[in-house]
């Protein structure tokens, strides 16, 4: 695979990973721009496999991946020097202080001892651990451990950080604080973030770009705003008979459903909107409103996963939108 253009943080080409007869990732081809990226999917969808594949921690069965312009197959250690990773599971040693451990991880990422210690303290402070950082981590709550995991992922100032289920096991307040931190890491510190989660609300709150996986297959990879627009419902309100309108829409090949006093349908092109207008006329109704209703990411996920009908943005489309 050719080196990725600088504006793609990573790209995969038919990246496939199978464990015997079980396929964890099915020929994934995607090009992802620098953004706050959400990686969505149910448990077992292939999110962690994708992250480990991009880190070079597992060999693909076939296909390839390029991260930060470097091929994973041959440049794994170099890539990992510029990447941060916060794993899903509890990975912290018990009988070490947070400060010592994060400093050690900074050293393993290549920082000399003194800057490593200083940055460890800086970053732990930034993630909200003050004097606690000098305590053994066996005494830490789940939320504090999550913060330490985040700190070790960004202590070496990576360009890209993978966060695997960062809000796991956290209470609502801790979750809010963690999501704010992640947003801050991207917006204020300029670190590209890929947030893997099965909680759609978390991704919706933090991310600009979303990759949806289902059973190892790529369902959607697109800009969140664009995705919401393209999958949005159109709401039609009329003075007149709704069954007549549904009938008229049906004749024009437009699927629509009644929801209370409104009719919901999907229309994207001018021709489709014209057809809706004509159907209203045919139903002898007065058109009171014809307006789009933006879907939540959850709606989009449910709709796309069940129908697998949402488009994957092509490289040209992404470039044309200026991502």
């Amino acid at each position: 695979m050719a080196t990725a253009p600088a504006d793609f943080v990573f790209e995969t080409d038919a990246f496939r990973k199978a464990y015997g007869s079980i396929v964890a990732l099915e020929a994934l081809s995607v090009q992802v721009p620098r953004a706050a990226i959400g990686l969505l999917g149910a448990n077992g969808a292939g999110k962690s496999t994708l992250i480990k594949g991009l880190l070079g921690l597992l060999q693909p069965t076939s296909g390839s991946a390029v991260v930060l312009g470097m091929p994973v197959a041959s440049q794994g250690p170099l890539i990992r020097q510029r990447i941060g990773y916060m794993p899903e599971s509890d990975t912290l040693p018990n009988d070490v202080t947070a400060s010592d451990f994060v400093g050690h991880m900074a050293e393993i990422s290549g920082l000399p001892p003194r800057p490593a210690r200083q940055r460890a303290n800086d970053v732990l402070y930034q993630v909200g651990l003050n004097e606690e950082r000098y305590r053994l981590m066996r005494e830490f709550s789940t939320g504090m451990k999550q913060r330490v995991k985040l700190a070790q992922a960004i202590v070496h100032d990576p360009e890209l950080v993978f966060l695997d289920e960062p809000t796991n096991g956290m209470d609502p307040q801790g979750r809010d604080e963690m999501l704010d931190l992640i947003r801050k890491i991207h917006n204020e510190l300029g670190i590209t973030v890929m947030l893997s989660s099965h909680i759609l609300g978390d991704v919706e709150r933090v991310c600009d770009y979303v990759i949806m996986l289902d059973s190892g297959r790529l369902v959607v990879a697109d800009d969140v705003t664009h995705l919401r627009q393209t999958t949005a419902d159109v709401v039609v309100r009329i003075d007149g008979s709704i069954p007549d309108l549904l009938n008229a829409l049906g004749k024009r090949g437009i699927e629509a459903t009644q929801q209370g006093s409104e009719v919901l349908l999907q229309a994207r092109s001018d021709a489709e909107f014209d057809a809706v207008r004509d159907a209203v006329v045919e139903a002898n109704a007065a058109l009171r409103a014809l307006q789009p209703r933006e879907l939540s990411l959850e709606d989009v996920y449910i709709r796309t996963v069940s129908g697998l009908d949402a488009p994957v943005a092509t490289q040209d489309q992404v470039a044309a939108r200026g991502d």
Binding site: L57, R80, V96, I108, G110, Q118
Partner: protein
């Protein structure tokens, strides 16, 4: 955040030392080192962990006891050298010191190897190491080197202390050093070889469990059992000259034969003296065991993520 490291305030100033400032997250533009540096830092970190440094006081007890047991005999001999003429020390040479150290070496290897590996696997810290520039082989190499360095402090350190004591107890230390430089080389060679041998063996066993006690027990019991099996077969075989080959399945006896070969010690009293094993063959077996142990570790760690 950083501590205030500027010039200290004068008495009438109110700014205290150690005040914490939030200077925010800053991008790092300094030096970034590569894999070799990461390996070095992991070696140093592993050595500190092995010694119980920056851990609870209970973690320091065993290393302190073992170091005391390892160095005490050599220290006593060196102290006695101040009062007793060196000529009277015929029976208290390096060979007898190694005999005393044998048990300490076994216990230290059994305790240290799980300390090096088991925590990282049980606490899943490996995921964090492998998300860094380190490869699996780098990780294993770091642990073997750290283990080797620590083992050599009990295998190489006490005889070195004794050697220095003998040197300075001599009427002419410089002449003694020149005359016995070969002994020093033998002590160093033996220290390195046996450190890596026991280090690789015990580490390869610790690779298969996340429980430190289990790993230590398997190593100790396994070693004793192998020695027992070798001895049983040796006696069962009777007079056959080739029964001496059994030395290769018993780690303590193999190390013993290595020492006898290296130090040219009379083998008449050795249980396996029936076979005069060529030194090169001993070294090849050493390399096979160390290489095999490292390969076993590598294979196991390939499955770790």
């Amino acid at each position: 955040m950083a501590t205030n490291q500027g010039p200290g305030p004068t008495a009438d100033e109110t700014l205290p030392y150690g005040e914490i400032f939030d200077r925010g997250y800053q991008h790092y533009a300094g030096q970034r080192n590569g894999r070799a540096y990461a390996i070095r830092r992991l070696i140093i970190y592993s050595i500190k962990r092995g010694l119980g440094i920056k851990k609870r006081w209970t973690s320091k007890i065993l290393p302190i006891i073992l170091y005391a047991l390892a160095y005490l005999p050599a220290l006593i001999i060196v102290a006695l050298l101040a009062f007793i003429p060196i000529e009277d020390f015929d029976g208290l040479g390096f060979d007898s010191l190694y005999g005393v150290l044998e048990l300490v070496i076994l216990i230290y290897a059994s305790a240290l190897a799980p300390e090096m590996l088991c925590d990282d696997r049980r606490e899943r810290t490996l995921q964090l190491y492998f998300s860094r520039p380190l490869t699996r082989l780098d990780y294993i190499l770091s642990k073997v080197i750290a283990m080797g360095i620590l083992m050599s402090t009990v295998i190489f350190g006490p005889p070195l202390l004794l050697f220095l004591g003998l040197t300075f107890a001599d009427d002419s230390p410089a002449r003694y050093l020149v005359d016995h430089i070969e002994d020093l080389l033998k002590i160093a060679s033996y220290g390195i070889l046996v450190s890596v041998f026991f280090g690789a063996l015990s580490l390869s066993i610790a690779t298969f469990t996340t429980r430190k006690g289990v790993a230590a027990a398997i190593f100790i019991i396994g070693t004793i059992m192998l020695q027992g099996i070798a001895l049983s077969f040796y006696e069962a075989i009777g007079e056959g000259r080739w029964r001496g080959l059994l030395v290769f399945i018993s780690p303590p006896d193999f190390v013993d034969s290595l020492r006898r070969w290296l130090f040219r010690v009379d083998s008449q009293n050795s249980m396996y003296a029936s076979l005069d094993i060529p030194g090169a063959f001993t070294l090849v077996w050493l390399a096979v065991v160390i290489g095999g142990a490292m390969y076993l570790m590598y294979r196991t760690y390939l499955q770790e993520d």
